[in-house]
Symmetry: C2
Subunit: 160 residues, 2 copies
DNA sequence: TCCATTATGTTGGCTGGCCAAGTAATGAGC
DNA sequence: GCTCATTACTTGGCCAGCCAACATAATGGA
């Protein structure tokens, strides 16, 4: 019961939100970490004129070059409608351009503009900073272990 | 300046064989796991008439009883506007009710309705299922290690 | 050749979540 | 009492992301 002495004070010696067993130990932790992570990324990216999530699309284009939207959807594992709108906004922002696919009139080819290309270094720097900040204080062994465990979780959660 | 060098001071000894480390090893993993986790939770909750995120608010109310909105904001670490709308929707769904705080005419007291209370067991079961599914195949030691590492990440990311 | 199936993308509608700006009530200081 | 900062909450606007329904185009089979 949280009713016991919620009166702030000095008792907060351990972790701030000391939340003993309330069912979803790891689940809660994942959710909290992920939100903080996304928020941090969002703040860093906003100075570049991007919103969290958009940088992943740009990164794919930088790495793999012009692609059809369907390819981006597969790679990013997003809903088609999400990518459609993201592409629309990035196009309006002048960072990417769309053109018809020669040979498949259904498809849309997406590619970066010079302005989009110009962001590459900064965005990659943001991600390096973010990663560094995220795993600060962890040993190499810790990082490897964390990657291993997260991979297991991802397999668990994408299986069904 | 950052030229073409692989950057990063720490040696990337772990083979970047298949998935070339594009900067955010852990960052990417966190993002992917969290999205899968949230999506899974969303699917499970939808059968109960809830959206991902709403269950956390309900859980707080179940555990701590009627509360002012400002308290929920602090506990959930959400933006005030987010909570306002979440509360509006949950009220419209008949799961919670709002009433004026006696003694502070600014504040709003939020409490569960019988319909909201009736969801408690099912939602808690969903979270148990979700947790079980998330950490399936991990040993007790793995789970403890994962919790420890995630706590460190959270501290890193909420520090700034 | 024609038709059903599949692939590609779009729009509408709904949510969580944030920021910025604004209203109303409280409380501290003078 | 009066002023002013703080607190509590709301609204408008914007984004990511999902589902459902849709129109178009390519493909495969009869």
């Amino acid at each position: 019961m949280p009713g016991t002495a919620p009166q702030s004070g000095t008792a907060a010696s351990p972790a701030p939100s000391a939340r003993p067993a309330c069912g979803g130990q790891v689940s809660h932790a994942i959710a909290r970490v992920a939100r903080a992570h996304r928020t941090t990324a969002g703040h860093l990216l906003r100075r570049l004129g991007l919103y969290a999530g958009q940088e992943l699309l740009m990164m794919r284009l930088w790495e793999a070059g012009p692609q059809r939207q369907s390819e981006l959807i597969k790679l990013l594992e997003l809903d088609p409608s999400t990518v459609t709108r993201m592409v629309q906004r990035l196009e309006q922002a002048g960072l990417i351009s769309r053109c018809a696919h020669p040979g498949d009139r259904r498809a849309v080819l997406v590619e970066t503009t010079p302005a989009g290309e110009a962001l590459r270094e900064e965005v990659e720097q943001v991600w390096r900073d973010l990663e560094e900040r995220t795993v600060a204080g962890l040993t190499e062994a810790d990082r490897a272990e964390l990657s291993r465990l997260l991979s297991l979780l991802e397999r668990n959660l994408t299986a069904g």
